[in-house]
């Protein structure tokens, strides 16, 4: 049963990649709504492109965290307690963002919608950055003592590497959302998405590549280096597809870039799940941080049954809502007036 912790490491990596891939475009759409959209109709086109799916996408995060708790309690405990402050911001950001999606169109005043637009955009930005910081900390190290507790104060996680990680998820999400909007909408939003992806992607992908390289230089293997090359090649393919007007290939290409880069990072790190920058002997590893074989076995059965099912019905959702959203699809906003007779 020695292989089970490794299986669970792979499952958790898959869950994180699934999260970054799916919520990547949701978070990016939130940022584009604040920074790129020209008017309310464009914002609503963008929002409704992710409308039916964003909540299901966010569950990938909850599942990644829950699976880490079940399979690697020590990893879960050390990582989350060490990153206390940034995770508080991530949670607040995700809370505001979720509520903003539901509430922004239900108010009467301009102030109301302006407030929720900001909550949605800034929430998406902060969440993306904080998730990047968290994963970068888990792959580049934290000052952990022998008990797995952070030393060095509340901001000990703040290093150049974690900032690169934060920027990596923000940059990727922006590009990913642009290609997503190009694929899922029509009209001005689609054009703007294509333009943004073409113009900004060469810079926006750099932090993720840098993060992958940081991990390679400290613990890379030939295979993980090869994945970095794949990631870089995927960017080139995606960028030229975008230039050539092939929206589907551009989306797939940038998606592949994420998958390859994250796989390269986690593969290089294996079997360490959370390095300690104080002493390598304090590193949390797949073996040292994992639950007992019985628990991992039970969870494996659940995952074998659950993950394919999730992929199937989430895939079906994307099929049901495959139609592009455009300005003419957006219904008018209806004011809600009290059903009361005025004297």
């Amino acid at each position: 049963m020695d292989f089970l912790p490794t299986v669970w490491f792979v499952i958790i990596v898959v869950l994180w990649i699934g999260y970054l891939f799916l919520e990547g475009f949701d978070l990016g759409v939130g940022m584009h709504m604040l920074f790129s959209a020209k008017n309310e109709n464009q914002r609503r086109v963008m929002l409704n492109a992710i409308g039916p799916v964003w909540d299901g996408n966010e569950v990938w995060l909850v599942t990644a965290i829950g699976a880490t708790f079940a399979a690697f309690p020590d990893w879960y405990a050390s990582l989350l307690s060490s990153l206390y402050i940034p995770l508080v911001f991530v949670l607040l950001a995700l809370i505001f963002r979720a509520v903003a999606i539901e509430y922004r169109g239900k108010g009467k005043s301009v102030r109301w919608s302006r407030f929720w637009n900001a909550a949605l955009g800034i929430g998406s930005l902060v969440a993306a950055f904080g998730i990047g910081v968290t994963l970068a900390a888990s792959t580049t190290g934290l000052p952990l003592d022998a008990n797995g507790d952070r030393v060095g104060g509340p901001l000990a996680w703040l290093t150049p590497s974690t900032i690169v990680g934060g920027l990596a998820v923000v940059g990727f999400s922006l590009v990913h959302a642009a290609t997503f909007l190009a694929l899922k909408t029509d009209g001005d939003v689609r054009l703007a998405g294509n333009r943004f992806a073409g113009r900004v992607s060469p810079i926006a992908v750099l932090p993720l590549l840098a993060w992958a390289l940081i991990v390679q230089f400290s613990s890379g293997s030939p295979l993980s280096w090869a994945l970095v090359v794949v990631a870089a090649a995927a960017v080139v393919v995606a960028w030229s597809a975008n230039r050539g007007g092939s929206e589907g290939l551009a989306f797939v290409g940038f998606g592949l870039f994420l998958i390859a880069a994250m796989a390269a990072i986690f593969l290089a790190q294996y079997p360490v799940v959370l390095p300690s920058t104080i002493s390598r002997s304090f590193d949390l590893t797949v073996a040292s941080a994992s639950s007992a074989p019985y628990t991992l076995g039970v969870m494996s059965v659940v995952a074998c049954f659950g993950i394919p099912l999730v992929l199937a019905y989430q895939g079906w959702t994307y099929w049901v809502f495959r139609k592009r959203v455009s300005a003419s699809h957006i219904p008018e906003a209806h004011p809600v007036e009290p059903a009361v007779r005025r004297a």
Partner: protein, 524 residues
């Protein structure tokens, strides 16, 4: 101990965020099945009134649902953030139900709710309502898994002790823990009670408003004569029947829910007398062994000596009935139980760095009696009030409308809060009653599987960080509460037209069929 105690702040944070989260959850669970049932009735009868009910109650359901989802995120993270020692100690068994919850319940809930929200006119009707049922099933399944996790803290089963840590060896024992089964059913009925009172209070408001606006009148026999108000969107021929039907559904749901709550609560109480006798003794302020149930006791309840507690009104035999099902078996009181706990689990916390400055401190095994005693009574009291009010409401509306009195209307609307309060009081009681343990020992389980709350908090997190998060989260939650209530009030007052906007535009035919036009039936 410094001026700022991380343990105390972390406990407040957990209490605040969890009680708050469990205001949204029971409404989601209580309202969802009613909405789905209404949609099935609409499909079966084709009656537009059911369609309008689905739209109206469904809108309120979603406004509330999202805050539950958003605040639920915090729960998944804070075991690791603030309670890292706890997470490491119990992770082998406690993490599994949390992961199952995410993988088997949350995905279903979120994905299929998205399909329901956006699936109007896109999905075949049967598939569309099936999506709502699946989403509701996901909500209920997630409640089950989290209660399995919580019940393991109340009554650990299915584990062996390996190197001082509980290690799971029987997942079925964990999933079928009798503590979990009774707590889950109890919580479900408690949630249905919330849904029922919500339907009742809001429908009452609309029936009252219709009378106030002169739309409905009563004849000499007191029977309703319902009318229409062409100048008010939504107040047409079907409006009256929508509200009286919703009101009666709500009242019946609330009454049935309370019966369920009482039966499951009784079973749960009997279990707790065996599993955590000190919690129940504290709930009863039962200082000495006996058979009487305290209806009212006063005194310095916080004191552990019990010497200050003066019973004012007692019902002989009732305590025995609650605990054992007869009127004569004596139930052990605090004075008898405390020495047993001290003998078994020690009089002082071990001299272990995990307890920080609390190492070696004397252990107080008695939960805060004011909290458990009054929590227990508020739970039962508010639940009973809600059920009684629902029965009165059915009787008062037997002739088809509500009294004109504004005061009674305000009572009915305010009554929405009673089952919420009962739910919160119940959780506060059972969680505070578990103290000083975070994992309470199982009297018939494996020795050594328990954990003091004092050992559970994250050692690496400073009091300042905890203070920052508890202030930030509480402030944000308070703001969200204001927003949620404002929106609920606006959509409630808007009536059916707030959820079926075509009614506000007389030239547009009301229809759920937009297939000819390109416009989305629902859009954010």
């Amino acid at each position: 101990m410094g001026s700022l105690d991380p343990l105390l702040i972390a406990r407040w944070q957990f209490g605040i965020t969890t009680v708050y989260h469990f205001w949204m959850v029971p409404l989601t669970i209580g309202l969802g099945p009613v909405v789905a049932g209404m949609q099935m009735r609409w499909h079966r009868t084709g009656d537009v009134r059911w369609y309008r009910m689905v739209k109206f109650w469904g809108k309120l359901y979603l406004i509330n649902f999202i805050v539950g989802v958003a605040t639920g995120l915090v729960q998944e993270f804070q075991f690791g953030m603030a309670w890292s020692e706890y997470a490491k100690f119990v992770g082998d068994v406690f993490g599994a139900p949390l992961a199952m919850e995410a993988l088997l319940a949350f995905f279903v809930e979120s994905t299929f709710l998205g399909l329901w929200i956006f699936g109007w006119n896109k999905l075949p009707k049967a598939v569309h309502v099936a999506c709502l049922w699946l989403a509701i099933g996901g909500s209920i399944l997630s409640a089950y898994f989290i209660i399995v996790a919580n019940s393991w803290m109340q009554h650990p089963v299915g584990v062996v002790l390996v190197k001082g840590h509980p290690v799971m060896n029987d997942v079925w024992a964990v999933l079928t823990n009798n503590t979990a089964i009774t707590a889950f059913t109890h919580t479900m009925f408690g949630s249905f009670g919330v849904g029922g009172a919500f339907l009742l209070g809001i429908s009452w408001y609309h029936l009252w408003q219709r009378r106030r606006d002169g739309i409905d009148t009563v004849d000499a026999a007191g029977r309703v004569v319902s009318g229409v108000a062409p100048d008010i969107p939504g107040r047409d021929g079907s409006d009256h029947s929508i509200w009286i039907t919703s009101l009666r559904i709500g009242a019946v749901v609330a009454i049935v829910a309370f019966a369920g709550v009482a039966i499951t609560g009784d079973a749960q109480g009997k279990l707790m007398f065996q599993q955590q006798p000190l919690k129940m003794a504290a709930a009863e302020a039962a200082c000495h062994t006996g058979t009487s149930f305290s209806v009212l006791s006063v005194g310095k309840l916080g004191s552990t000596s019990c010497s200050d507690v003066v019973p004012i009104i007692e019902i002989p035999g009732l305590l025995s009935f609650l605990a054992k099902g007869n009127f004569t078996t004596t139930v052990e009181g605090v004075d008898q139980l405390l020495p047993q706990y001290e003998a078994k689990y020690g009089t002082n916390l071990p001299d272990n760095p995990i307890y920080g400055s609390r190492a070696g401190e004397k252990i107080d095994y008695l939960p805060m009696m004011e909290v458990t005693y009054w929590g227990f009574r508020m739970m039962i009291g508010f639940g009973g009030i809600a059920a009684f009010a629902a029965a009165v409401a059915l009787w008062l509306t037997r002739r088809g409308t509500v009294p004109r009195s504004k005061g009674v209307m305000l009572l009915a609307v305010g009554g929405i809060l009673a089952p919420f309060a009962a739910n919160s009081a119940g959780w506060v009681f059972t969680e505070m009653g578990r103290q000083p343990f975070v994992v309470a020992p199982n009297p018939t389980g494996v020795d050594g599987v328990y954990m003091f709350t004092a050992a559970a908090v994250s050692p690496g997190v400073s009091a300042g960080e905890m203070l920052f998060s508890v202030i930030a989260l509480t402030a944000v939650y308070a703001v969200l509460m204001v927003f949620e209530i404002r929106l609920l009030v606006r959509y409630v007052r808007g009536g059916i037209a707030s959820a079926v906007p075509e009614l506000a535009e007389p030239d547009q035919p009301e229809s759920d069929d937009h297939s000819k036009s390109d416009v989305l039936a629902f859009a954010y």
